[in-house]
Amino acid sequence: MAMTGVNVHGSYIYANPRHGLRAAGFAVLVIALAAAPLVAGDYQLHALIVSMTFLLPALGLNLILGYAGMLSFAQMAFFGIGAYSSALTAMRWGTPFWLNLVVGGLAAGIVAVPLGIPALRLRRYSFVMCTLGFAVIAQTIAKNWISVTRGDLGLSQVPRPRIALWNGGFEITSITSYYYLALVLSVLAVLAFLTLVSSAAGRYMIAIREDETLAASVGTPTWHYRMIAFALSAVFAGVGGSFYVHYFTVISPTVFDPFYANTVLVIVLGGGVGTVGGVVLGSFLFVAVSEALRIAPDLRMIAYGLLLIVIVFACPEGLLPLFIRKIRFGGGTHVP
């Protein structure tokens, strides 16, 4: 019973990195994904890249919602800030790709701090509104700060990633190389996320999500950790935005539209909030579903909407627990 903060659904699988099953599943998934270009066409690879692009802001949202118990709509604003700052750095100074990623992540994280100071004092819906408002404000700035962002024209021909190597490096252009870049980034992000949530700090964040007062009573400086979670969630989103802009090579204020924020929300809530596997599953599944529905353009969004409703009632804790149960019953694998 959370006395403050957002009340997240009670029972889900605690992120314990020592689960052998989890590690094995992760390894199998990574190997399968690494082999995907052998069988998948450009379009399928592109869809996988999109999944992985949304995975980063989704991991960030999972941190703030699933581990610190607060629902934030600012996630796509941070995504946009990361994208813009990374694109501008690359276009003005021709910086290498890895530096752009760092710039994108840091810019988002730094902006999150002054926003967090008033916002994190708020509870539940007031906090939700505050973050929603932030996305609106970010969009207005992107539209009106024309000397930097070019306003609604947006930035185009953002440089493609250059990977610096001993022999001078190469530019990422083919879809397969983009795919591997996205895969490497995603794996690193998931590992970073797992490391974070299994550290002492991660345990404190879970404690805050579970019950903020109880967490404080065991010595958790709750405000600080909520701020850290908020800033780190922004960093994840910012890095995602950075990759996004170097893949699509275009950014405009539309990135702050609710469409993106809703997609990330659906990924996290549909996959399984508070779990890493759930978010990974969610990002692949929801992009896959939305792409699969392209066979009927007119019915696509209706079917998507209906699916959301069905899924959310059939498995309110997200799809991951459903999958785990299947493994448990089917394979007889015991999950402690």
Binding site: G10, A200, A201, R203, E210, A215, S217, V218, P221
Partner: protein
């Protein structure tokens, strides 16, 4: 009315008002080091509010609280736990339900093992070593309270009485000076009540931990406490040995009236 620097807790003129309602009306009392002190009184007599004021959950309207001479009035709860080593329990919120039994204990021990905030992000060998030590300590405590067999169970799924025992064990993890227990026996079956009392006594005798216990179960209080305080309408009406206090006419009247 200066604070007693040797007292585990020195409460001086604590008053707490909510609008026109006075919950605690100027309580002053010293809890000696090493004592097991009961705090009782009818419903609404201000016991929980007094607890809240001593532990940072609420700020007193007036008055001050000292822990061994350290003025902790108005501190945040997490700071009181960390720096004054005064830890408390809650009636309803007992354990972190989504965590395993062991993880609950590790979490509570973190404030000692990981002092600085930066260190909590560490994942290197040093951090792993610290966590391993905490798990060992946890294992020991679980054995003491008799929960070793459910070490990996999810805390939300064990019985309420067991959760209370887990809660008690958790509170020992950071090696506190003072433990404030808010109704540790409520909703617990008689066998577990005995085990709980045994645990409190052992912690008191072996580790010298001071206890303040809010409880309605007078029989248990008589058996457990060295000293009993009675609150009524926000005021301290009795202070003495349990036997003396239960015979105090003022106390009898307060309970009958309440």
């Amino acid at each position: 009315m200066s604070p007693d620097p040797l007292a585990a807790l020195s409460i001086r003129g604590i008053e707490k008002r909510f609008g026109s309602i006075v919950a605690v009306a100027g309580v002053s009392v010293d809890i000696k080091l090493g004592e097991i002190c009961g705090l009782t009184g009818p419903n609404g007599s201000g016991k929980s509010t007094l607890f809240d004021c001593c532990t940072g959950l609420q700020k007193p309207s007036t008055g001050r609280v000292y822990a061994q001479g350290l003025d902790i009035t108005g501190w945040d709860m997490h700071r009181i736990v960390r720096e004054a080593r005064v830890i408390r329990s809650f009636q309803k919120a007992v354990v972190f339900r989504a965590l395993s039994v062991e993880e609950n204990l590790v979490l509570c021990g973190q404030m000692i093992a990981f002092q600085g905030m930066a260190s909590t992000f560490g994942v290197g060998p040093a951090s792993r070593h610290r966590v391993r030590r905490l798990r060992e300590q946890a294992g020991h405590l679980l054995e003491l309270v008799g929960l070793s067999h459910m070490r990996h169970a999810t805390a939300g799924q064990i019985s309420f009485g067991q959760q209370k025992l887990l809660q008690f064990a958790s509170m020992l993890m950071p090696e506190p000076q003072v433990i404030l227990l808010d109704e540790p026996m409520a909703g617990v079956n008689p066998i577990l009540i005995d085990r709980m009392m045994e645990n409190i006594n052992r912690a008191n005798q072996e580790q010298g931990i001071t206890f303040v216990v809010v409880e309605h179960n007078l029989d248990a209080m008589k058996a457990l406490c060295h000293r009993l305080l009675v609150l009524s309408r926000g005021e301290l009406i009795a202070d003495g040995t349990p036997d003396a206090v239960v015979r105090d006419p003022a106390v009898v009247e307060a309970y009958l009236a309440g």
